[in-house]
Amino acid sequence: MLKKTKNVNLILMLFVITIFQLTCLFTLVSKAVDEHKTGIILTFGIYILVEYIYFIGTRLVLKRKGFEVELIAFLLTSIGLSITASVYPDKALKQLVAVLIGIFGFVFLQWLLRDLKRVSFLRVPAAIGAVGLLAFTLVFASFTNGAKNWLYFGGISIQPSELVKVVFIFVGAASLEKLQSNKSLTKFIIFAFACVGALFLMYDFGTALIFFFTFIVISFMRSGDIRTLVLVCTVALMGGLIVLMFRPYVANRFAAYGHVWEYFDTSGYQQTRTMIYSASGGLFGVGLGNGELRDIFAATEDLVFGVVCEEFGMIMAGAILLSYVALLVYSIRHSKYARSSFYAICACAASSLMLFQASLNVFGVNDILPLTGVTLPFISRGGSSVICCWMLLAFIKAVDRSTYRYGGVRQ
């Protein structure tokens, strides 16, 4: 018989998170110049208010009990907001808007996933839309930091590949009633090839790798066919090697990998500084706003794990990584008992994606893997990234059958 464990005490945890957020706010305000103080207070005030509305609403209206997943997400987002407000106080409100869109997307996607017929209907338009968006990006985007993956509309910039991550999992898992009878991966392989190919052409290799990894997870969960997956991986490996042979400039992007200390002031500049400053933070960090890594380029995005290590300490950095692992364990544990195989595949794919992305980020800045420029889920600054992470969380939430206890699932 399985052991029953009680959910965490929501009121207590919410209280602790609020104290954490207010402590961060106090620290930030005490260090900010006068012109930024209002913006920072407004950012945290709205964020805490939305947080309370979400928890009270879902607890009282939807009668939910388990909030561990959301508590982790709200805490990690708080850390991200604190770092953004500390390094770029003028961009804190902009980041908050992205977070709010992400939370809205999280709630909306939970509602959308409730009706599996609706999901089944939407999978083809979603797939066409995703490929179309990537094609549009490929044609109209301009190169930013070596990759052609940003679109600019007026003063707003978006990274479509982040949003396509959500659609990729949605389409890959949405086989529904055909899941057991239709194990053919052909259509999904074509869709995945189109997405990964487009990302490769954009030189967004980190995201391409994340998509490929997610493709492997979804394919395995859908078919359980190891031979097809080995074949696909072999073809992908050979394709990658051919690209490296005929397009040597691709390999040049990773030239410093494995020996960044030899390129201390050139291509290994970011990683070497990240490692130095991460270590200087010690167990409890140097304090929010007191770090040195914040002055390095992309400190709040690609190198944000280093900033966390330096300013919040190694213990908190370790705990953050543990939370990504816990989300995956949670998804796997609940997948057997999910209301549909669709939810099981979505949750495992979403949590694997987050863990893989976090690994690429953390190992990248420490030179264990090449630095691919991917973000750390929930913490890195960037609207598209944080929106994507919150929407992925809806997939993880859906695997728990108690999520749709109130009203049930429409199949």
């Binding site: 464990t5 402590t23 561990e68 140097v286 705990a319 953050i320 549909s340 059958r401």
Partner: protein, 238 residues
């Protein structure tokens, strides 16, 4: 001020760790309640398969929730799924098909309490609710029914008793058919765990059940028609 800032480093760390460790510990340890929604009772050996998931796969593959080693069961044979309006069984492109109360299902079929489901030659009785809700041992006794075969040409009745009856051209067969295209030992109707099955032995003429040729041991259900050449027999439960 500096002392306060120094203190806050520890406060922030402790608060964040408290939340993360609590939530992570809960996430890792949290498991859904294991509730038995229904039971599949294997009529061959009385083995019970509790259905605890919303979707339970049945097949020969090790990845299935309920595994049968019988060669008539496909690797991924069927899925028993709990939907909002009740249980359904889905045939997942199995070779031998899924039968509910003797009727071959097309894609899916809604299940009711007490339905007999055949996955190949694996015959299961379906009970909604847990073992405690169902007095399965009592219900098993109800399955012992008297059956007969009726020759549709002349309405001659053959009551099925004992463990088996033989059908064929051979003298001494329980049901003797004198036709050159009928094998000496054409078919056998036998009882296995309180259920009647038919097995084909005919080489020239195949024994057919409800129009389909029989290739393996096939369960019989009330109203089934056995055809051997021009001869037809109705299987009836009395």
């Amino acid at each position: 001020m500096l002392e306060l800032e120094y203190l806050m480093r520890y406060v922030l760390c402790i608060l964040a760790i408290a939340v993360i460790i609590n939530c992570v510990w809960s996430l890792i340890r949290l498991r859904p309640d294991k509730k038995v929604y229904a039971i599949l009772l294997n009529m061959a050996n009385d083995e019970q398969h509790p259905i605890t998931c919303y979707e339970t796969s049945v097949g020969r593959s090790k990845s299935c929730d309920i595994i049968f080693t019988n060669s008539t069961v496909s690797r991924s044979h069927a899925v028993v799924a709990l939907r909002k309006d009740g249980f359904y069984v889905f045939d997942t492109e199995s070779k031998t098909g899924v039968y509910v109360n003797g009727e071959k299902i097309q894609k899916s079929e809604k299940l009711s309490d007490g339905d007999v489901i055949a996955f190949g030659t694996a015959i299961m009785k379906f009970y909604i609710g847990s073992e405690a809700d169902n007095d399965i041992s009592h219900k098993k006794d109800e399955n012992i029914k008297l059956s007969r075969l009726v020759n549709l040409a002349d309405n001659t009745e053959f009551t099925l008793d004992g463990d088996f009856i033989t059908i064929g051209r051979e003298k001494g067969s329980n049901i003797e058919i004198s036709a050159p295209y009928v094998s000496r030992r054409q078919a056998e109707v036998f009882k296995y765990n309180n259920h009647w099955y038919i097995k084909n032995f005919g080489k020239i003429t195949k024994t057919a059940l409800n129009g389909d040729a029989i290739f393996s041991d096939t369960p019989l259900y009330d109203g089934d028609v056995i055809r051997i050449g021009d001869f037809e027999f109705l299987y009836e439960e009395i």
